[in-house]
């Protein structure tokens, strides 16, 4: 069976450093940090009191007041970035076969705030259950692609992928496979997350996963720096419209890039720690390159998972060295989490957007907040520290790894006839 080619025809982003794709990109190439003291709740007693929150976001610009109340923030964010992407792609659903347009959406957790609010409310009472009837349909994460389908009247395949911080990359890979095998013409894919609340920050704090650099939030996310002390929680949403090349051409769509491969693997090692030698990460990259039918030397840029945790950054750099050998020194590596924080289930989507725009604009966004080299990292690797670099990027690889040992990588390339 001949596989169809799959291209990117629309982008939408709502991030801690910009509420549209162009604001996001400007933030990335200007090295803007999205970290600041937490405003979503009173974090005074928490070990970490800062995060990368989405700023100046008004959900009523995207839905009516009644829906704002009935939807969790992770769905508000998704509807906002999806509106931008649908407009960007010029999709007129009245003229398209909506039975062949689907939604595959990732989130690590889903409606954590809704769960927290409802259970807290119950715990404060006398034991009489007084759960809001919208509790469950507001919380479950698959409600998000459900809402996207209802908003636009899309009857094609519709579900969520869950693999913690790899969730939206798995969504992209599933979308790639369903389009290239002919099951759908267009899939609205991506992911969203909204866990900056008492449960999310408290839970990650308890694992010692978060940076506690409360005196200087803007430099707290410092992947590959010697003094990194954990990740910075982020939130937001990224939407990527994927479409078969023939369908995109037939409707005269703008084409950003081509999605040519995805690779997946499992560490089978530990619930939260990555494999010390990066075995799973390496296998995901190997599988992606094999799937894309290219060679290692083609890769110009890796948007790494690089969360700024002491262990994870080392194992990922080992995986890159092991997989790419000498070519590891020729390519650019950067962790845009140094600016956005870690968007967890939405990371794959927003970082894929960064990779697509790096290809399109010929600029590699930097890894900001580099102060001191880590002697455990190979200093010949080019982490694109502190400043963006102009570079022709023909092939970009984006890595994401999730708790549970889930690894997923995707490869985008410049579109050529």
């Amino acid at each position: 069976m001949e596989l169809k080619r799959v291209v990117v025809t629309g982008l939408g982003a709502l991030t801690p450093i910009g509420n549209t794709v162009s604001e996001y990109w400007n933030g990335l190439i200007n090295g803007v940090s999205g970290a600041a003291p937490i405003t979503h709740f009173d974090a005074e007693k928490f070990k970490t009191r800062f995060a990368c929150e989405v700023k100046n976001f008004d959900p009523t610009q995207f839905m009516d007041r009644k829906d704002v109340r009935k939807l969790d923030p992770f769905v508000h964010y998704a509807l906002a970035s999806t509106e931008e992407a649908v407009r960007d792609a010029g999709l007129d659903f009245e003229k398209l076969d909506t039975n062949r347009i689907g939604v595959i959406w990732g989130s690590g957790i889903g409606g954590l705030k809704t769960f927290l609010d409802e259970v807290s409310n119950f715990a404060k009472g006398d034991g009489t259950p007084r759960y809001n009837p919208f509790f469950i349909p507001k919380m479950i994460l698959d409600i998000c692609p459900g809402h996207i389908s209802m908003r636009y009247g899309l009857h094609g395949l519709n579900f969520s992928t869950v693999s913690a911080c790899a969730s939206s990359t798995h969504a992209l890979i599933d979308s790639l496979n369903y389009i290239r095998t002919g099951y759908a013409d267009i899939i609205i894919s991506g992911g969203s997350e909204a866990i900056i609340n008492e449960a999310g920050i408290g839970g990650f704090n308890a694992m010692h996963a978060l940076s506690t650099r409360n005196d200087d939030p803007a430099t707290a996310s410092r992947p590959f720096d010697n003094d990194r002390d954990g990740f910075v929680a982020g939130e937001g949403s990224g939407t990527i419209i994927l479409e078969s090349l023939e369908h995109a051409k037939a409707r005269g769509a703008k084409i950003y890039a081509e999605l040519i491969g995805g690779g997946m693997s499992a560490d089978a090692h530990h619930i939260t720690a990555s494999h010390p030698e990066g075995l799973g990460a390496r296998l995901a990259m190997t599988n992606a390159i094999k799937d894309a039918k290219i060679s290692n030397e083609n890769i110009d840029y890796i948007n790494v998972h690089g969360t700024s945790t002491p262990v994870g950054d080392i194992s990922e750099s080992k995986a890159i060295l092991d997989h790419f050998g000498e070519h590891a020194y020729d390519l650019n590596i950067s962790s845009t989490k140094s600016m956005t924080g870690h968007l967890l289930g939405a990371a794959g989507a927003v970082e894929s957007i960064a990779s697509i725009l790096a290809i399109r604009n010929g600029i590699v966004p930097p890894t900001i907040n580099h102060f001191t080299d880590d002697p455990n990292l190979d200093s010949k690797l080019n982490f694109t520290f502190n400043k963006p670099q102009n570079k022709t990027v023909n092939y970009a690889l984006s890595n994401t790894f999730g708790f549970g040992g889930h690894n997923a990588s995707v490869i985008f390339t410049k579109y050529e006839e």
Partner: protein, 78 residues
Amino acid sequence: MSDIASRVKAIIVEKLGVDESEVTPEASFTNDLGADSLDTVELIMEFEKEFNVAIPDDQAETISTVGQAVAYLEKNVN
């Protein structure tokens, strides 16, 4: 308008996102005010909370308009 009626109206405006002028005594939650079955359950729960009463399910099923809600509450709220 009674105190109960105005409080009922305020809840409906807030929960269903409708205009105050639409909330007439004859207005049906589902047919006129755009509520679905879950909205209706939520409204009943809000009435219970606001007026500190328990509305049994068999009674709740008889409340489908604004006027029915006000009448029920006027009869059952002390």
